[in-house]
């Protein structure tokens, strides 16, 4: 922005334009009503100014027609806003299937960003433009909130669970990351920068970054180190279920519930395994609460997500 007094945020994602359109629609409706009502009141104030002290106004008590009109019109307008806003919200909530992953962990008071290829950064996030990016967010302590005004996206980062958000940057540039949810002393310092780059530049940047193995590789290593592998084997010979293809499937629990296995289900299965026990298994899996950090957890999940169902359907082994 050239002006020294910017009055409008940069718009740099695929949804930001849509958000602005909705904003201007509601702004229009609001301005209409605000001006209408204020103008009428001021007009009446002058027009009907009392001529003589003690004069009474006209003997009017009300009008059902008017009441219906001014209940109905705001109602309809409000419903339009609701439907529009809800649709937009769904768009903003559902990441496209081909989105690339980035993992973000918030802790007092910094953002730790991890790319699937293993490159890590702090308070900075490099992303390619024109490519949907899905962020998986976790918190190590209290609630934070990942907010990129230029993209018009925001999501709370809640300890004890994972949350998701996504965006597609459209313009190369650097944009603010803010922590939106109050989180203690340096809440206002928990800020960072998104660097949106041309895809080629991004690849180059990635290649130049130091890495200690990709997220999936790390996850695989953890899977062995934490001896998950002893129970979860590729075939169904372990004491735990095979994890191939679990992600995204519907899991039958032993109390009759059926659960869609998303990242939070995987997280819960590792941190509080006994909350939801898979049908046909004993609740013997130990909790890994306190043993794996939020970052490791994301790597584990990234790894589990890559596991494909066994090639040939495993024959249930009877024991």
């Amino acid at each position: 922005m050239s002006s020294s007094l910017p009055l409008f945020p940069l718009s740099a994602s695929t949804v930001s334009g849509e958000v602005d359109t909705l904003f201007f629609f509601i702004l229009g409706v609001s301005a209409f009503f605000a001006i209408l009502v204020s103008a009428l009141m001021l007009y009446f104030t002058f027009k009907y100014r009392s001529k003589k002290a003690g004069d009474a106004g006209a003997d009017i008590h009300g009008s059902l027609t008017l009441e219906l009109i001014w209940t109905g019109i705001p109602f309809i307008l409000a419903m339009v806003m609701f439907v529009w806003g809800a649709q937009l919200f769904f768009t903003m909530a559902k990441p496209p299937a081909d989105a690339m992953d980035i993992f973000v962990v918030g802790k007092q008071w910094m953002w730790k960003v991890q790319h699937p290829e293993g490159v890590r950064e702090i308070n900075e996030m490099h992303v390619p433009i024109n490519r949907p990016v899905r962020l998986t967010l976790g918190s190590e302590d209290v609630i934070h909130d990942f907010f990129i005004p230029a993209f018009r996206v925001k999501m709370d980062v809640v300890p004890g669970r994972l949350t998701t958000m996504w965006f597609t940057a459209t313009t190369v540039g650097e944009y603010h990351i803010f922590c939106g949810q109050y989180c203690g002393t340096r809440h206002s310092g928990m800020i960072g920068t998104v660097v949106a780059m041309m895809p080629d530049d991004y690849e180059a940047w990635l290649a130049g970054g130091r890495t200690t193995g990709s997220a999936v590789q790390n996850g695989e290593r953890l899977f062995t180190d934490l001896s998950c592998i002893t129970c979860h084997k590729a075939d169904s010979s372990g004491r735990g279920p095979t994890l191939g293809g679990v992600f995204g499937s519907t899991v039958q629990l032993n109390d009759g519930r059926r659960i869609l296995a998303d990242e939070n289900y995987l997280r819960e299965s590792i941190m509080t395994p006994q909350a939801k026990v898979v049908q046909g298994f004993q609740p013997i899996m130990p909790t890994f609460q306190g043993l794996v950090s939020e970052e490791n957890l994301m790597q584990l999940i990234a790894y589990v997500k890559t596991l494909k169902p066994a090639e040939t359907a495993p024959v249930p082994v009877k024991k």
Binding site: D255, M271, T272, Q274, A275, V277, P283, T287, Q289
Partner: protein, 220 residues
């Protein structure tokens, strides 16, 4: 009602801003009911938490309710139901202006309330001994979710017990008032109002007992 002022000589217990004893009694009972609504919401917040976590950790909930002593809980349920009966009888005696009935039933109510608290005390003590009190001393081998159960258990029963203590204090005051002939067939508002409170505390327990002690017992 010409000007709504008290007609004959006003009853000594009639406060000046009411125009009749009836209005005064109605206002007081309505007041107590409105207050009880706030009490329902007060416990309601904790019941909401109960609902959420029970749904989140069904298994831990079953496990944890096994740690509670349902016999003692059941005993306390009966004690409270009994105290509700004596309370109702005390109000009835007040309505009829029977002093002896009031004294006996109020004393019984207080006594039963104390029995409840004593039983509760022993239950709490057992929880301490079994490391079931949330916090650093909580038994670490227990399943996740159980600590929340016990947190809620202590909050719910603790707040309930606090209500019992308030109730007992209230009843003691009513008892002394009754002993001093403060009530008669025209004026027994305090007994009636205190009674409503007592019954309410009983109702809370009627819900706490199955929710905390009984659900999931068949799994054992």
């Amino acid at each position: 009602m010409s000007n709504a002022a008290p007609t004959a000589k006003p009853h000594p217990k009639l406060q000046p801003h009411f125009h009749s004893m009836e209005q005064q009694l109605e206002a007081s009972t309505l007041g107590m009911w409105v207050f009880l609504v706030t009490e329902v919401m007060f416990f309601g917040g904790m019941f909401m938490a109960y609902l959420v976590y029970r749904n989140m950790y069904p298994h831990a909930w079953v496990e944890a309710s096994h740690e509670l002593n349902w016999q003692l809980g059941g005993l306390n349920t009966m004690v409270l139901i009994m105290s509700s009966l004596t309370m109702a009888l005390a109000v009835r005696a007040a309505m009829l202006g029977q002093k002896r009935g009031q004294l006996v039933n109020l004393s019984l109510t207080i006594l039963l309330g104390c029995v409840f608290l004593v039983v509760k005390f022993f239950e709490y003590k057992a929880k301490f001994e079994h490391h079931l009190v949330p916090g650093p001393h909580f038994d670490p081998t227990l399943e996740q979710g159980m600590q929340i159960f016990f947190s809620l258990y202590f909050m719910l029963t603790g707040v309930h017990a606090a209500h019992m203590i308030i109730g007992i204090v209230m009843m003691t005051i009513i008892l002394t008032m009754a002993a001093r002939d403060s009530f008669n067939a025209e004026y027994y508002t305090p007994v009636e109002v205190a009674g409503l409170y007592w019954h309410f505390v009983d109702i809370v327990w009627i819900f706490l007992f199955p929710l905390l002690y009984l659900l999931g017992r068949h799994g054992a």
